[in-house]
Structures are given as structure tokens and as C-alpha cells.
């Protein structure tokens, strides 16, 4: 508490409050479960490209799905945000409470649009590069560096999105696995499957543990 009062001198109440809110928000693990599902979806799609031979219909469809999912990553992300909000209000309100955020002003809206645009451009470029190197079976080696680029960039996004210990762990895991895979001899599809499967499972497990801990604590009635 003294920490809060001393921080008030250096930071705005909004910064302190958003930190406290993030801490309370991450308590139920729903965001991690959602992130885990997205990562495992990517891993599943890449694994389909290993199982089914290059040029087959399923392989092509999986490759196309990866491309569009990366380009339109914002859709499942916002879709799951909406679902999380509904689940919280429907089932977890007695445990996590209710909060209504301030409506966003023009400056915040501009920032959101700018961040979303940059994220979409980065995702689209990454998707295009991955698909190009996979489809063309490029003889040059650098294609594997895309694993490191993917791992580090997604790890960075995960860390800044969650800004909590568990998210830093996921971000670090993504980056470390990406870099390790870039130096290994695995194929790009196997690399992508591993890159997304491990952090995906980590997110799913840590989120599920957080949720089960929350559900075990008895719900307290509002004051």
C-alpha cells in the first residue's frame, strides 16, 4: 500500500490502476487459456502439413488457413476477448468482480488503431514470408531463421500484452524455442509445430491451473 502511495508521485493514477487491474484480470487465467488455444490451433495446422504430403488438398488448405489466420489474427483475438468478457459476467462475477472501463477517447482509439495496424502488417509479412519459403521449397537456408523471427516477435507481443510473470515466461519460451529451432535441422513445418505447441500447452496448463485455483476459492457475496 505504501508502494502505491509512493508510486503515485511518479506515475498517474491511471498507470497504477491499470497495473492493479491487470493483476486482478489475470487471476482467472482465461486470457492464457485463449492464447493457448490460438497457439495450439497454429500448431495443429502446421502439424497437418507434416502429416499430409506436400501438394495434397489438406496440406494446401492447412497452409491457406495459417496464412489467413496470421493475417486476420486480430479477429480470433478480439473474438476470444468478447467471449472471455461474457464468461466472466456469466460465471465468474462472484469471484473476479465487475468492472466497467472508461469509454476510450480519440487519442486512445488512435493508439489502438496504430498498434493493430502495425501488428497486422507484421503478421501479414511474416505469413507471406513463411508461405513463400514453404511453397517454393527455397534452396537457401535462411527460411529457418523465420522460426527465430516468429518466436521472438510473438514472444515480445505475448510479454507486452500480458505484462505479468506468466506472460513473460510464455514470451521467453516462444523466443527461446524459436531461436533454438532456427539452429536445429528440423523442417519448417515441424519447427512451426514445436514453436507453437509448447508455449500453447504451457499457456493452457498455467491458465487452467489459475482458473481451477480461482474456482476452488469460495465465491464471496458482494458487500
Amino acid at each position: 500500500m505504501n508502494d502505491t502511495s509512493s508510486r503515485l508521485l511518479e506515475e498517474t493514477p491511471e498507470v497504477i490502476a491499470s497495473r492493479l487491474m491487470r493483476k486482478a484480470y489475470n487471476r482467472d487465467g482465461l486470457h492464457e487459456i485463449a492464447a493457448g488455444l490460438i497457439l495450439l490451433t497454429f500448431a495443429g495446422l502446421y502439424s497437418l502439413q507434416i502429416v499430409f504430403p506436400f501438394g495434397s488438398t489438406i496440406n494446401k488448405n492447412a497452409s491457406t488457413a495459417v496464412f489467413f489466420l496470421m493475417m486476420l489474427l486480430i479477429v480470433p483475438v478480439y473474438g476470444l476477448q468478447w467471449a472471455i468478457k461474457k464468461i466472466r459476467l456469466r460465471f465468474l462475477i462472484g469471484r473476479v468482480g465487475y468492472v466497467k472501463l472508461k469509454s476510450i477517447n480519440r487519442k486512445q482509439l488512435g493508439r489502438i488503431i496504430a498498434i493493430t495496424s502495425v501488428a497486422m502488417i507484421v503478421a501479414a509479412v511474416l505469413a507471406a514470408v513463411v508461405v513463400y519459403f514453404i511453397a517454393s521449397r527455397h534452396p537457401l537456408l535462411p527460411f529457418r531463421t523465420i522460426l527465430a523471427v516468429d518466436g521472438v516477435s510473438f514472444g515480445f507481443f505475448a510479454a507486452i500484452a500480458g505484462r505479468s510473470t506468466r506472460y513473460y515466461a510464455v514470451g521467453g519460451l516462444l523466443a527461446a524455442i524459436g531461436i533454438l529451432l532456427a539452429f536445429s535441422g528440423v523442417s519448417i513445418n515441424a519447427g512451426m509445430t514445436i514453436l507453437y505447441a509448447f508455449p500453447g500447452l504451457f499457456c493452457l496448463v498455467s491458465g487452467s491451473i489459475a482458473l481451477s485455483i480461482l474456482l476452488r476459492t469460495p465465491a464471496e457475496a458482494g458487500e
Binding site: T4, L8, L9, E14, L20, M21, E220
Partner: protein
């Protein structure tokens, strides 16, 4: 400088208490929050938070509304205009003095 230091004597004691300062800072960043949410975010006990909210409501810094969402009872808290002004002036005084 001494004039700025002397202004510390006029500081609002209701908002100066760390737990209440935390509640007010939290409410300043949201439109409204319920009791349970504030309890989770601040880490205060139910009785402690309740006592602090009563004080803040008594001073006119926080508005409290008891309502229901589905079958769940909600105690909605929001910072009043007076509360916003007091928090703002508190920050200015403390920053100027230290």
C-alpha cells in the same frame, strides 16, 4: 519552497491514507467497479475495504450504488467529480512538496 512544504499540512487526510488512496486511484481509472473487484485489485479484506469505502462515501468522494446483475448482488462504486478534484489536487501538492 517552504510555502510548498507548508501546503502539506492542508493535505486531505481522508485520501492520504494508503488503502483509501489505492481505492481512489483505482476508481479514477475506471468508470465503475464493484466491491468484489476492488477487493481483488487492492488485496484489502472485506471489512477493511468496506470501512474505507464508507469513509470515502461519507466525504462525498465515492458514490456507492447497491444493485443486482442477474442474481448476483453488486455494490457499484464510482469516483465522484469531487473525488476526482481531490485526487488531482492531492497529487499536485505532494509532487510540488517532494
Amino acid at each position: 519552497m517552504s510555502a510548498k512544504i507548508q501546503r502539506l499540512a492542508e493535505i486531505d487526510r481522508i485520501i492520504h491514507e494508503p488503502a483509501r488512496l489505492m481505492v481512489v486511484a483505482l476508481l479514477s481509472a475506471v468508470q465503475e467497479a464493484d466491491f468484489q473487484y476492488l477487493r481483488q485489485a487492492t488485496g484489502l479484506t472485506q471489512g477493511n475495504l468496506s470501512a474505507h469505502l464508507t469513509k470515502l462515501e461519507g466525504a462525498g468522494y465515492v458514490a456507492i450504488e447497491k444493485t443486482f446483475r442477474r442474481k448476483y448482488p453488486l455494490t457499484l462504486c464510482r469516483l465522484t467529480e469531487r473525488g476526482k478534484e481531490v485526487l488531482d489536487s492531492y497529487r499536485k501538492v505532494i509532487k510540488a512538496a517532494l
